[in-house]
């Protein structure tokens, strides 16, 4: 049996959105996203906002 060297076909070009101008988070931001203390504060604030919204929609 002869061994065939199968080359994967070139992927077809796709009209992908150019994201090179989208802001990249810096190291500080990325770290803050996993800091349990600051995240706990955000957790409380987020749920406070939800409750505010619930109350204002006449729940």
């Amino acid at each position: 049996m002869t061994e065939q060297n199968i080359q994967p076909s070139e992927p077809k070009p796709q009209p992908v959105l150019d994201l090179t101008r989208a802001p990249m988070p810096n190291v500080k931001t990325l770290k803050a996203r996993y800091n349990p203390f600051s995240q706990f504060g955000r957790f409380v604030a987020f749920n406070y906002r939800i409750m505010k919204m619930v109350v204002s929609s006449g729940h």
């Binding site: 989208a22 996993y34 619930v54």
Partner: protein, 485 residues
């Protein structure tokens, strides 16, 4: 004595039934008709779909809850409504076809004094050739069973990546008129997280194929956030996440045909493209369930009761007008059906008056128009106010004023998890308040004090908290009514 019948036991129908039962005396009956024996917390199907949660944690059987609460439960689907009654009885009736309870296939006509249609969406995979689990090409996370299959196929794709074979994964919308882009967005970043955890992200190409014309549109025309003293956009915020995670967005798409290896789609400029893939999760467009309506003589009046989309017509302004001319006021407030003051449609089952996101057409005439999302919180809230209206009608009389709430007043919480784990999890957490922008009330259409988009570990905690809270509530455990919809 009054008989209230609720069609559907999803977020809207189940909420309505529990509140009705809580507020009405036992001499009134509450009957729920739903073809599935289980309740499903659909937002957590995302985690099932990546294998992070078993199906058993997102569903539970409805029958014991209804037995405990005194709700008459029929495992059946509604097939026809007789809003004016029939020649034998002037009371309205619903024809149901059993799907379980040892009566599968049998039909029955049940009478009602008040009827709530909360049948949610029909998943219209057939709208795109080759789309969906039945066609065997793409997967879905719309039901818990679909999500189980998605997880299996994703695991097989990851196994191939681990063997060193590059793979192309596609997540998004399977039709130009899909809604629920938030769910596709969420699944994208869960898949991304799984690929990273498996150590194979560099071999995988991950595309987000969407009908949205811009990132962050979510079928609501995008949002404006107040961030760090600036007005920022959901487009900028989501673009940042896509760039950071290396996910490739393809916007404004309508897939025409899907085979086992290729998605053929059109973009807003009218160009056709072929995308070869190994794994794809594409959502279907939604429509109403094929429920017929008949008058007293048995004549078909379906088109008077339901819109062409199959959703039920309610107190919205359906006058055709250009997109630019719609107003917040066009949206329904009481959810009472057109022509019948004892029928309501809530949750996804009501026909929205128009798109929130700008509808577009390609030069070839293909419609690419994200449909308006009707998310969990509004669905529950509509159900609750309709339950209150019915209770007032029964207790005060037919003149009782309807309770109201509009999607221009109700917000939505969308926590798009992007990875699990109490310390390593992450989620893009969004509050959209209100869902339908009201430019007469807010300059940006929405309340800047509450509308938010943030990413972080806390988002994962929030998603987990909502999962447990809503399953607790749906099980009608002590104090369930204190948990807001």
């Amino acid at each position: 004595m009054a008989n209230v019948v609720v069609l559907g036991a999803g977020i809207a129908g189940h909420t309505a039934a529990l509140h009705l039962r809580r507020m009405l005396g036992r001499h009134h009956t509450v009957t729920v008709v739903s073809p599935n024996s289980n309740w499903n917390w659909i937002p957590s199907n995302i985690w099932v779909g990546v294998g992070k949660m078993p199906k058993t944690k997102v569903v539970f059987p409805l029958a014991p809850v209804y037995a405990k609460k005194g709700v008459d439960y029929r495992q059946a689907k509604a097939v026809a409504i007789y809003p004016q009654g029939d020649t034998g009885d002037a009371r309205g009736a619903v024809e149901i076809q059993y799907t379980g309870q040892d009566k599968a296939g049998q039909t029955e006509k049940i009478r009602y004094d008040y009827l709530i249609n909360a049948t949610g969406p029909k998943l219209k995979f057939e709208a795109t050739e080759g789309l969906g689990p039945d066609a065997g090409n793409t997967v879905s996370v719309c039901t818990a069973d679909h999500a189980v299959e998605a997880a299996e196929k994703l695991a097989a794709t990851i196994a191939k990546l681990k063997e060193g074979q590059p793979q192309t994964l596609v997540v998004g919308t399977g039709h130009g008129t899909c809604t629920c882009e938030g769910a596709a967005f969420e699944y994208t970043f869960n898949v991304d997280h799984e690929l990273r955890e498996a150590g194979v992200r560099d071999l995988a190409t991950l595309y987000y194929l969407t009908n949205e014309a811009a990132l962050g549109d979510f079928g609501v025309g995008g949002m404006i956030f107040n961030q760090g003293g600036f007005e920022s956009t959901s487009e900028l915020w989501t673009s940042s996440l896509f760039r950071e995670r290396g996910v490739k967005p393809i916007l404004g798409t309508h897939p025409h045909k899907i085979t086992s290896s290729t998605i053929t789609y059109e973009t807003l400029d009218g160009e056709m493209h072929d995308l070869d893939y190994d794994f794809a999760m594409l959502l279907p467009p939604f429509g109403g369930h094929p429920i017929k309506a008949f008058d007293v003589e048995g004549n078909d009046i379906t088109d008077q009761v339901f819109a062409p989309s199959g959703f039920m017509k309610v107190d919205a302004d359906y006058t055709p007008k250009p997109y630019e001319e719609w107003r917040a006021d066009d949206w329904p407030k009481t959810y009472q059906s057109v022509g019948y003051d004892n029928i309501w449609a809530v949750g996804i089952a009501f026909a929205p008056p128009h798109q929130i996101s700008k509808p577009r057409k390609t030069p070839n005439g293909t419609v690419i128009a994200p449909a308006p999302p009707r998310t969990g919180m509004p669905s529950g809230l509509m159900a609750k106010i309709v339950a209150k209206t019915i209770v007032d009608r029964i207790q005060i009389g037919p003149k009782a004023v309807s309770h109201t709430v509009s999607m221009t007043e109700m917000g939505a919480v969308c926590v798009a998890s992007a990875g699990t784990g109490l310390t390593r999890g992450s989620a893009a957490a969004m509050i959209m308040d209100p869902v339908v922008p009201d430019f007469t009330k807010y300059p940006t259409g929405r309340n800047l004090a509450t509308t938010r988009g943030e990413i972080g570990l806390y988002g994962h905690w929030s998603k987990l908290m909502l999962h447990y809270l809503f399953i607790y509530k749906a099980k009608a455990l002590p104090g369930w009514q204190l948990i807001p919809e």
